[in-house]
């Protein structure tokens, strides 16, 4: 197929590099340097999408980020699908596969458009709020039909083969946009020695200069662009980022840039390359040189393919060598609109007319058009368009001087293209991301950036400056200001001169009147992508939606993927007129990140899959893996859960592990417990203030269990602390609570009791903790040490500094199983060595590795709590029956004391921790089961507690459980019931939670 709209010469494309691409299954040709959109236009593709609500055929309207219609599905394979690619921003590459996203059977012939035509009248804004309500039961059916129409592109159904990078950047000056203003700013900053980042969303720098016929210093503007870009590239401290969209401007001059590294090459990144990169920039100063978007006029049927914004027409001609049609009618309120007519004419195609709303336009471009013999129709506008899949003609009519009504008879002109210009809207999006409200400027008929606390400068189109000379000088000025602010000496920059084109005054007009009132006129689109019309906006206003935010929400204006870049101001103007207000009186328009959509993968970066969250392992991890351990996630730690042997199910493993500990000896890797080294003259005093029990008399060489409460008296962590020296303690915490506890200690020390001399350091990772537990644990340990391990010399709750397997070790005689236990702590690097030595010596004792689950069962047999499992932030020590762990004699009112004496904490009938024996000893109550006193009560039932821990105890031969029951400590022997999801009810007797060895003799031997 030939590129019928391609010019023989001109533009920035490389005609020596032809490319092949596919659109809707058909092959087309384009050139290196094309965008997908320019290549489609070159090939005469008219319809690129179907509209969201009315299924109207739509064509390409714009040439950049503001394009609302050309939203395509990209990707040659399932895994490389990309939904919603804006064809105007997608560089063409060889083999590109694209598809339109809506329309059945295809985008050219869509049966839904019939419904759109017929039913469209019944679908004004908010119609769905007014219907689909009856009968109530049918809403699901209605909604499933509505949902069928949802969405544009589709998500891939296979995982992304590509990777994405993040990079942190710091610079003196971050310049957003490499058009004339941005380049001038960059030049000034770079020459002055500043660290500069210059980012632009396009494939090459130059911005508007890439598509202009304008001369700088008498030479093509692109020459200046090349020279400046070359110079910038020569500076070491300047980073140039093409294909990089600054998507977000965040507080404290933090800027996010989305760089598309390989999307111009293929739909999958070349091997060893990241597809996209997210730059996170902290800039001392930010220069916004983001330019402006041209505003289309709002007239009837302005969405028929062939209707384009004027500047885009020029861009396609001048930059891509594509004339997107054969005949052109321009409808404009200003001089800029004439440029497309001039470019079109100069490209050798027919300009039917320029229709100017102004009665007496007078400017150099107007003169130039007339000199070329172009028919200029003044005081008039295109009020309607003919055609469905392509413009076939326009209706032109004189309009009144205020632009409010048609004032004469209609003339019809044949044409296939309409270019429109209603003026320009500054691209202020980034400036409002940080909460700054834009300000309306009557002079330029647009919003400009408002006051901000950011270190932000603006230059060029964003300020409403559209004259090239002033744009350049504003850029230079911003660059120099930034340089001065960061304390550098300004270098000299001489700007090129553009010819000053004399311009006539523009007319302020947004919405072109029709012969019929807006409500009855053919549809006049304001926001193409969301199918919002002028009539819809007027209707919203009539219905009382008067704030612009209400209008936007009621009509969905601005909620598309283009975020209303073309339509928002027009919509505000239509609303303002309907409400008889000024535009600023209807409100401002607030933009949020992102400026243009950004790939989730790029935001996630490498922090997914394996790297989603760090994994923490103990030193013995490989041993556990080799023994086939199953793991449990506890915080970031991977902890062995149980160690199944061949042919065992989980319960069988647990039974074996549990019995081994009580009968002989087992070993647990307890390295993950938090360990905090506490030193200083006042360490002991500090512990006394932070724990609920007494620490004043704990002797060197002794250990003690402590409960840690919040100021509200509720338990939040627990653990054993050992007195290593008079001024030195080692605190252990729960595995998941370590970081929180350390911060808690620091908080109290630094903010409340700085007078205490005490220091904290985390030593969790420094130690491996090997816990051997069971009646044979002493014998086992004795094989690896000469130390006298007798009960007299090394008693329960002692710790000793000894050597184990030749390695210096701190051994703690503490017990979480209720058995004789030695907790061997060695330097982490020796962990595996000692572990393996224990197994060498332990074979004869059937030394059995056990995991967290067996540990949980064994401690539950003893009624020991696990903070976080048996507590939930609403229980204090007395609720847990752990009043023994609360000291009322301490002189200092420790953290938690006052809290646990509040009215609600001392009332009767609080939920209290008890043991539970099921009536049928074989039945294990599911953890989380809720207790009731009357199993026959109808729902809602009165719940009196729940089960926190529940297991089969192989040692006891019956199930055991711990849980809360209201007033449970006074209800020993009474029955509670646990109604389950499956309808069964488990009956249990309230008992002491200590099921085994209530006197604690086994750990004391």
């Amino acid at each position: 197929m030939t590129q019928q709209n391609r010019l023989q010469s001109g533009g920035r494309i490389d005609r020596s590099k032809p490319l092949t691409f596919t659109y809707n299954g058909k092959q087309y040709k384009g050139f290196q340097g094309d965008t997908l959109a320019s290549a489609m236009l070159a090939n005469g593709v008219n319809v690129v999408s179907r509209s969201f609500k009315y299924s109207r055929p739509r064509g390409i309207v714009a040439a950049g980020a503001e394009e609302p219609n050309a939203i395509l599905q990209l990707g040659a394979t399932e895994a490389t699908q990309v939904p919603n690619v804006r064809a105007t921003q997608q560089e063409l590459f060889n083999g590109l596969v694209s598809q339109s996203t809506n329309g059945w059977p295809n985008v050219d012939t869509d049966v839904m458009s019939v419904l759109g035509k017929v039913g469209g009248k019944m679908m004004p804004p908010g119609f769905y709020y007014k219907t689909f309500m009856f009968p109530e039961s049918l809403w699901n059916t209605y909604e499933s039909l509505i949902r069928k129409a949802a969405g544009m592109g589709r998500s891939p159904l296979e995982n992304d083969p590509d990777s994405y990078d993040h990079i942190n950047q710091h610079c003196d000056v971050m310049i957003v946009g490499a058009g004339p203003a941005g380049l001038a700013a960059a030049l000034a900053a770079a020459r002055s020695g500043a660290r500069v980042i210059l980012a632009d969303e396009q494939s090459e720098f130059g911005g508007s200069l890439l598509s202009t016929t304008e001369k700088l210093d008498g030479k093509p503007a692109s020459e200046w662009v090349s020279a400046v870009t070359e110079e910038l590239r020569s500076y070491e401290d300047v980073m140039l980022l093409p294909r990089s969209t600054v998507n977000g401007y965040h507080d404290h001059n933090f800027v996010t840039i989305h760089e598309r590294c390989t999307d111009h090459l293929s739909d999958i990144a070349p091997v060893n390359q990241a597809r996209q990169r997210l730059h996170k920039v902290r800039a001392k100063w930010v220069v916004l040189a983001t330019g402006a978007h041209e505003r289309p006029l709002v007239y009837s049927n302005n969405d028929v393919p062939g209707c384009m914004v004027s500047g885009a027409v020029s861009t396609y001609i001048n930059r891509y060598g594509v004339v997107p049609g054969n005949e052109l009618v321009v409808t404009t309120t200003n001089d800029y609109g004439y440029q497309s007519a001039l470019d079109w004419h100069d490209a050798g195609r027919k300009v039917v007319a320029v229709v100017d709303t102004r009665a007496n336009p007078a400017g150099e471009r107007v003169d130039a058009a007339r000199q070329r013999g172009i028919n200029v129709i003044t005081g008039s506008a295109v009020i309607d368009v003919q055609g469905s899949k392509r413009v076939s003609g326009v209706s032109v009519a004189p309009i009144s001087a205020d632009g409010n009504k048609v004032s004469g008879s209609v003339t019809k002109l044949n044409t296939d293209t309409v270019a429109t210009s209603g003026g320009w809207s500054p691209v202020i999006h980034l400036s409002s991301h940080t909460g700054s409200r834009p300000i309306w400027n009557d002079e330029i008929v647009g919003f400009v950036p408002g006051p901000t606390v950011q270190k932000q400068l603006t230059a060029g189109g964003i300020n409403g400056s559209y004259n090239t000379n002033s744009v350049l000088s504003e850029g230079l000025e911003a660059g120099l200001k930034a340089v001065a602010e960061v304390g550098l000496n300004a270098a000299e920059v001489v700007l090129p001169k553009a010819e000053d084109v004399k311009e006539g005054a523009s007319m302020t007009l947004f919405h072109i009147p029709h012969l019929k009132p807006t409500s009855q006129a053919p549809k006049q689109f304001v926001d193409y992508q969301t199918d919002v019309t002028a009539a819809g906006i007027e209707l919203a206003c009539r219905e009382g939606f008067e704030s612009i935010e209400h209008v936007k929400r009621y009509t969905a204006m601005g909620f598309g993927t283009d975020q209303g870049k073309l339509g928002n101001i027009n919509g505000m103007a239509v609303a303002a007129k309907a409400l008889n207000k000024t535009i600023p009186e209807t409100g401002t328009t607030i933009f949020r990140p992102n400026y243009t959509p950004i790939t989730f993968g790029a935001i996630a970066g490498r922090n997914c899959g394996e790297l989603f969250d760090p994994k923490r392992y103990s030193a013995m991890q490989m041993w556990h893996v080799e023994r086939g351990a199953k793991f449990e996630d506890v915080g970031q730690w991977k902890r062995p859960w149980y160690f199944p042997q061949a042919g065992e199910n989980m319960q069988q493993s647990l039974d074996r592990e549990c019995l081994a500990v009580r009968d002989s000896v087992g070993i647990l890797d307890a390295s993950t417990l938090g360990k905090i080294d506490i030193q200083g003259r006042d360490a002991r005093e500090f512990l006394g203030r932070i724990y609920s029990n007494a620490w004043a008399k704990l002797a060197v060489g002794k250990c003690r269990y402590g409960l840690m409460c919040g100021e509200d008296g509720m338990v939040f962590d627990d653990g054993v602390s050992a007195c290593l020296g008079d001024n030195h303690f080692l605190m252990t915490t729960t595995t998941g609570g370590a970081a929180r506890v350390l911060e808690w200690l620091e908080l109290y020390h630094q903010t409340e009791w700085p007078e205490l001399e005490v220091y904290f350091n985390t030593v969790t990772d420094h130690w491996s903790t090997l816990t051997i537990s069971g009646p044979n644990s002493r014998k086992l340990l004795a094989e690896l040490t000469d130390y006298d391990l007798s009960n007299d010399n090394f008693s329960f709750m002692d710790w000793k500094q000894i050597k184990v397997a030749g390695v210096p070790a701190r051994v703690f005689r503490i017990s979480f199983t209720g058995e004789l236990t030695f907790e061997i702590n060695v330097q982490a690097n020796y962990g595996t060595h000692v572990w393996e030595k224990l197994f060498e010596a332990g074979a004869k004792y059937n030394l059995t590795p056990y995991g967290t689950e067996t540990m949980h069962i064994l401690r539950a047999e003893k009624g020991f709590i696990i903070a976080g499992q048996d507590t939930d932030g609403s229980v204090h020590p007395f609720d847990l029956g752990m009043g023994w762990c609360v000291s009322n004699k301490k002189p200092f009112s420790y953290v938690g004391k006052r809290g646990m004496n509040r009215q609600d904490c001392v009332r009767d009938n609080r939920k209290q921790m008890v043991g539970l024996k099921t009536k049928d000893p074989k039945v294990v109550i599911p953890e989380g089961a809720q207790a009731v006193l009357d199993p026959n009560e109808p729902i809602p039932m009165k719940m009196v507690g729940h089960v926190t821990s529940s297991y089969w105890s192989a040692n006891l031969g019956h199930s055991i459980a711990m849980g809360f029951v209201k007033g449970g400590l006074d209800k020993m022997g009474e029955t509670v019931y646990y109604p389950l999801v499956d309808g069964t009810v488990i009956e249990a007797e309230i008992c002491s939670p200590i099921f085994l060895d209530p006197k604690g003799e086994r750990q004391n031997v």
């Binding site: 589709r154 995982n159 790939t599 904490c905």
Partner: protein, 417 residues
Amino acid sequence: MQRYSGFGLLKHSLTHHENWQRTWRNPTPKKEYDVVIIGGGGHGLATAYYLAKEHGITNVAVIEKGYLGGGNTARNTTIVRSNYLWDESAHLYEHAMKLWEGLSQDLNYNVMFSQRGVLNLGHTLQDMRDIERRVNANRLNGIDGEVLDPQQIKEIVPHMDCSDNTRYPILGASWQPRGGVARHDAVAWGFARGADSFGVDLIQETEVTDLIIEDGTITGVKTNRYGDIKAGRVGCVVAGNSSVLAKKAGFELPLESHPLQALVSEPIKPILDTVVMSNHVHGYVSQSDKGDLVIGAGIDGYTGYGQRGSYPTIEHTVQAIVELFPVFSRVRMNRQWGGIVDTCPDACPIISKTPVKNLFFNCGWGTGGFKATPGAGNVFAASLATGEMHPLAEPFSMFRFHDGALIDEHGAAGVAH
């Protein structure tokens, strides 16, 4: 009030939709009202609606400093569920759920309440214990709920990675089929239209600049546009501004206002039919009828009234979503925004009398406000009507932070909503 229906649409289409009535009036306020409600968000408007409808009190004004439903109502991720852990909150949210069911018909305004079910994922054994506990409690409280295993989850959400190859494999989930989403703006507008139809005055673009308090009793409010307006009782429903108004009344609240961010993808073809929430990996997502993936982020840790938060929060959320749904990696994020959530220390709201007589506060909903809208409005209306707290509101007194009777929903509310 003009009835809405499909037939009405047809009829109006014949006259080019030129004759639709205003959805609500734009009245000039009277000098005095029985009840003044400060704050025209979902909760305030629901309060006004139920005051009029259920208590016959129509001499009511709602004073809104911006536009109706423009605060958190306009900014949330629209999730509705009632599967809260503790009886007090479960009853309150279930009261709301029952009102949601049938709300469109009651209001004659389609709030598009869509009961597509809510999954709360568990990724650790403790998550699963908490889920079991909550589902058991829910069922005994008459709230629907089930515990699902990964296979069952996969059937509901086929494109989520339910394998055990992930960093935190999905071990199970709670499933509330009656949960879902509603169209947030429509909720505010539906209540506004309903309240207006009973004669409630909705006063927009009007800021309450001060409270008029005499001898410990509130008697009215001062406004920036209409001077003093007298009131018998005043209900303050100003999420994101509660502490500021409390200060004017001379007391502090147990609140911190934090940014809560959310984001949407570009619209894509339907791929996710339910609401998926994960406290553990910190993210939740549903797909709107328009096709956007609506994604909620976590709360930023600092106090912030700027309606925006910090970027790392967005990053972590997107990481979580891509971790749960690796197929979404190439889908693109369209827009992010932030609300201001007033968080209470126990993650439960305050619906309460205050130290000032006849001044009532409804605040502190944290991340849970939207789903409670009809229920909160309903019980707050009853309290304003009678001067005594509705039994379902009673436990949510601000004075619980004195005596210690907190309702700790951190487990159930968590980061997710």
